[in-house]
Amino acid sequence: MSDDWTSLDLTAIAAAIAEGRVTSVAVTEACLARIDAWQPRINAFIRLDREAALATARERDRERAAGRLRGKLHGVPLAHKDMFYRAGRISTGGSAIRRDWIADRTATVIDRLDAAGAVDLGTLNMAEFAAGPTGHNIHVGDCCNPWDPARVTGGSSSGSGASVAARLVFGALGSDTGGSIRMPAAICGVVGMKPTYGRVSRFGALARSWSLDHVGPLTRSVADNARVLSIIAGADAADSTASAQAVPDYEAALGEPITGLRLGLPATLDSVDADVLSVLDWARADLERLGVRIVDVRLPDLAPLFDTAETIIKCEAAAMHRPWLAARPQDYSNQVRWRMEAGFLIPATQYIDALRLRTHHTEAFLATTMDGIDALLLPTMPFATPTRAETDVERQPGATALAILARFSRFTRPFNLLGLPALSVPCGVDGNGLPLGLQLVGRPFAEATLYAIAHAYQQATDYHRQEPTLQVVGHMAFLSS
């Protein structure tokens, strides 16, 4: 019966622990049992810290018994993409190069979750060095979609999406440089927030591109997401790009009325599958019933935003990986190495101009597409979830796989360049029965507006309540445990 606790969402289990209806140890054991059952099928964990997690849970229970609750996550089991450093613990970044690297600092977001009382179960699968949109990983094994292991999870926060969807954890952190929180959230059927650039500290998080990296939570519900973001957001002396903007009470904002809010929806969306368009149409109708006003908007040509973002990513990645690329190129997968090589050959002036152009692109987007609206409604992914085989550019390189990969981040990457908050929420299924997500994009630091709209949507729908079932046991194994 203890497994039943894993069916509650984060805010509900936090309340149950705080009120003494269940112990943190019992909840942690239930999560561990579920991980044992699911890990062979989906390979979501890179490392499971079983004993450490139980020790922390016991400590949380002792604290509660003594009348002390650390915070709003007291005793709640979480796990995170294997790129958030904890001093003294291995942090692989999903790579072979850092297979044994022990972190020398603790990420600010991990410190804040610890302070709120969370129990850390271990580290989650991810694309090598957070570079890849599918969930493939030749070093630690692919992360597989809990709805259908033959299909991709999305990446690079593959384990975060898969573990939250399979109810192995109550929430997980991811990082997003071109869609790496939102894509796995959409594909796995969970909620993923890429906050405004600077809303969450990046200190102690392995970088993919300093200028475009965003840290955020993946959770089962919008309310869960709001809680985690409220804990991790805010200024940080260790990260000069972390904003000093006051952090609103995101949970309080969930109840804000949304009637009359203006939601922009492009009249036409090119290169989007029919499944996706029809689900988006249903979402539009649901949102209108909730009182939101849908407004026609025009998206700009997204190609310049892509090219500017690509220039920045490639140059920054090339700079940070240069020593390893020189000394041990064979330890990279081909696709990760290929993704950054151009960065060595782009003139510094072009890189600097790309950074300067970012302001212009953002100003223009706010003044045109976002003018007069409270948020923008888009699909997160433009197509139904493909299989791992047809997108495996490492093992079966070819034009078809590359063409599919090129479309993954069509609606996500532009908002990394613009730095705008973007939330992916489950909104239906594709023709194969796999989840699809809608994306709400807001004005800078307007995460609360996105949460209010999405929470109202989840009160009226049950897409986020759907969960995969365990049927097949495969042959994958832990790296360590």
Partner: protein, 80 residues
Amino acid sequence: MIVTHVMIVTHRGSPMKDRATLIADLAADLQGIRLEPARAAELAAEVDRLNGAVRTATGQLSFDDDPAGYAALLAKAAPR
């Protein structure tokens, strides 16, 4: 008197094969990276596309545009 002549070449008319060679030479000379001809050709096309896109857009930029203006823009646009 020192006279410096700077010529900015805006014409991008050299054949791709030559640019692949140029990219291979740049990679070797400036970065110490050896590229196979086929990979050099792929990178030449990629670099050409990205450089062209950024260069085309730089008409929007003025002397005083500072990359740090981006964070200020986000802060200015935040809800009050």
